[in-house]
């Protein structure tokens, strides 16, 4: 028996290797997710002491009619569409810069990482402060260029822009981290071969770096997309979804419905929608990853 465990067949080995991961998933997320989905079929409000009538798909119908839901979905998608490519480009740029042959690399790499190490909520607060009409350094820098300080966080478009910028700043770090590691795995000899083949720096980037980096890019994109769809802390701390609900995201809507309104059934339903959205968007990436594997 022991020998069998030491040299298991591929299938047994796979089962053994995957067991801890799935056990943890089962323990920590399966029950919660099951409960979440279960709750979405009930009109479950904290007020009212928990006797929740079964309402079938009514919550789902309500969500689809909810202006706030569509507004939040739109904001979320917008933020995702802006920040995911934004973070990718910026992260890639940073990773490439950090991968240059410096003698001491750690200051550069540390710089790469710091934004990510700054706790999310505090990053939002700090940037909210940067964009503050009076005390922010952004307006301070621009003071000569604009007659009147811009109220960045009080104008819907500027607010979204500021939020996106903050998210990009914060998450490009995560991107860069993964991409930098990917860069380090590309054998130098490929660049040599490409050099000899006559590829310019840009062509080497396109023909060697990008394709060889693709697995890492896809991984980074998957998670960046998922977290972008769950964007919460930064708009929450920067604008509270304001002005009005111009910057309210799905996650904020869910938070509001569960914590502020105590409407568990409805917020569960929203979460299911968010899950579906995430799934739909990441399905494309996942397919790619699976085909690579």
């Amino acid at each position: 028996m022991l020998a069998r465990l030491r040299d298991p067949s591929d299938r047994l080995l796979a089962a053994l290797l995957l067991a801890p991961a799935f056990a943890l998933l089962a323990l920590i997320v399966v029950y919660p997710i099951g409960k979440l989905i279960f709750n979405s079929f009930f009109d479950l409000r904290l007020q009212g002491g928990g006797n929740a009538p079964f309402v079938g798909l009514e919550n789902y119908a309500l969500v689809l009619q909810d202006k706030d839901f569509w507004n939040a979905t739109w904001n979320t998608v917008l933020i995702t569409l802006v920040t995911v490519p934004g973070a990718l480009i910026m992260g890639l740029g940073l990773a490439l810069l950090a991968n240059l042959p410096f003698k001491r690399r750690w200051p550069v790499r540390l710089a790469l990482l710091l934004p990510w190490a700054l706790p999310l909520a505090f990053a939002g607060l700090i940037f909210a402060w940067f964009f503050h009409t009076e005390y922010g350094f952004v307006n301070d820098l621009l003071s000569g260029l604009q007659p009147e300080p811009t109220m960045w966080l009080l104008r819907p478009n500027w607010a979204i822009a500021a939020i996106c910028l903050t998210i990009i700043w914060k998450s490009s770090s995560f991107m860069a981290l993964i991409l930098l590691a990917g860069l380090q795995m590309i054998p130098n000899s490929l660049y040599e071969a490409a050099e000899v083949d006559g590829a310019s720096q840009w062509q080497q980037f396109r023909e060697i770096t990008l394709p060889m980096l693709m697995p890492s890019i896809v991984v980074a994109l998957i998670f960046r997309t998922i977290t972008a769809l769950q964007t919460f802390d930064i708009p929450y701390t920067m604008t509270r979804g304001g002005p009005g609900n111009a910057t309210e995201t799905l996650a904020m809507l869910i938070h509001k419905n569960s914590i502020e309104y105590g409407d568990i059934g409805y917020s569960s339903t929203l979460a299911v929608f968010m899950f579906l959205l995430s799934m739909a968007i990441t399905a494309i990436y996942l397919k790619r990853i699976a085909s690579q594997a």
Partner: protein, 397 residues
């Protein structure tokens, strides 16, 4: 037999240090009880988040907790707080000694949902020195306040000086920002049963009033960005003539090392609209017993003690926390320790409670978000009021 009671007492604002002292006294008097304090997140938001997780999971780890004055109805209807009638008696008698606003805020459906811990209220702080210097009396109406501000600002010539600072960011304070001018026109937001009685014209007028103050330069343009702490800091820095803020601000103005306005601060009732009457928003904290507690009787006893006149006096003397009993304001020891309470008393007594609703979270969210949006000028006051009405009609039936 030893009972351990775990008390959740929010953050610094709930003064766990003082509460501890009271608990120690209580423990000394009741050797069978041991009290542990748990401090949660520092803001009411974080506390709400924590409490809703724990209570939603029907966890018995907490026996007693503090809730905001707006919350008893909500927590009661969620089944999270234990009705105290069985332990302390019927509301009519138990609640009578308290300030009326607190008495009513804590009784839901004839049940005592919680007992008041200490009071709070929105005050109008002002710069006594500046008013005196320019020979201006305390303004009684908003128009007078605007005029006074403009006069002082012009005379001082300090570009950083603001006439009035209020909270325009979408935080709980903005609910008061909405209600204050509305109330001061003599209107009510809701009736006794909690049904909404919004006078849209008055509400829009109230909001328009704020925007008017912005246009006149009395308030700053980015008022929709201002949070409670900003008002405090700017006032402390001597950049504000009039400031609306909670009671805690007094200590900050007078006590903080870096305050430039020590001894120059006055408190007055809020101005009214011409022909209306002054009104303010009350706040404050209540003691509640968890519905999932395993030692409810002991917990109720503790709560009763914490809400007693003696405790109120202790908190007022030691921590300048405002008493929930009217007579405590005039107690000699209290007046000696906290002289400004004599000015405060009038304001608190006239204070009004924010709408009492079991769905207060939603009510507050709608009001503060819309108010802030109007102040940021992404909506007109009329649109904002319409939205508030539309959204809350269903909620406040």
């Amino acid at each position: 037999q030893q009972t351990t009671l775990r008390v959740f007492s929010g953050g610094q604002n709930q003064r766990p240090d003082l509460m501890r002292q009271l608990f120690d006294k209580y423990q000394a008097a009741n050797p069978g009880v041991k009290i542990e304090i748990e401090t949660g997140g520092a803001t009411s938001e974080l506390q709400r988040q924590y409490l809703s997780t724990v209570l939603n999971a029907k966890d018995s780890a907490i026996d007693v907790f503090m809730i905001d004055v707006v919350n008893p109805a909500q927590y009661f209807s969620s089944g999270w707080v234990e009705p105290l009638n069985a332990y302390v008696g019927e509301p009519a008698s138990v609640m009578a000694p308290y300030l009326p606003v607190y008495a009513s805020a804590n009784v839901v459906d004839g049940k005592i949902a919680a007992l008041p811990a200490f009071a709070d209220s929105m005050f109008m702080y002002y710069r006594k020195d500046l008013l005196a210097k320019h020979g201006i009396a305390e303004p009684k109406t908003w128009d007078e306040l605007a005029a006074a501000s403009k006069k002082i600002m012009a005379a001082e010539g300090n570009p950083a000086l603001q006439g009035l600072s209020i909270q325009g960011a979408p935080i709980e304070g903005a609910v008061c920002t909405f209600l204050l001018p509305y109330w001061s026109q003599g209107k009510e937001f809701n009736d006794a049963a909690g049904k909404m009685t919004l006078d849209k014209v008055a509400a829009a007028k109230g909001l328009q009033g704020w925007l008017g103050l912005v246009d006149q330069g009395v308030m700053k343009k980015n008022i929709a960005e201002v949070k409670t702490g900003d008002t405090v800091n700017e006032f402390k820095a001597g950049q504000v003539v009039f400031a609306i803020n909670w009671g805690f601000a007094w200590d900050r103005f007078q006590g903080d090392k870096d305050s430039t306005v020590q001894g120059k601060v006055g408190v007055m009732p809020l101005p009214a609209v011409a022909g209306g009457k002054s009104a303010t928003c009350i706040g404050g904290w209540q003691w509640a017993v968890s519905a999932f507690s395993k030692s409810k009787a002991e917990a109720a006893k503790l709560v009763r003690y914490m809400s007693s006149p003696d405790s109120a006096k202790f908190l007022a003397v030691q921590g300048s926390l405002m008493p929930v009993y009217p007579q405590t304001y005039t107690d000699a020891d209290v007046v000696k320790a906290v002289p400004w309470f004599k000015d405060a008393a009038a304001v608190v007594v006239a204070g009004k409670s924010r709408p009492k609703s079991e769905r207060y979270g939603e009510v507050s969210d709608v009001i503060r978000t819309t108010t802030s949006a109007v102040l940021a000028r992404t909506k007109t006051p009329a649109e904002g009021v319409d939205e508030i009405e539309n959204r809350l009609r269903r909620v406040m039936r």
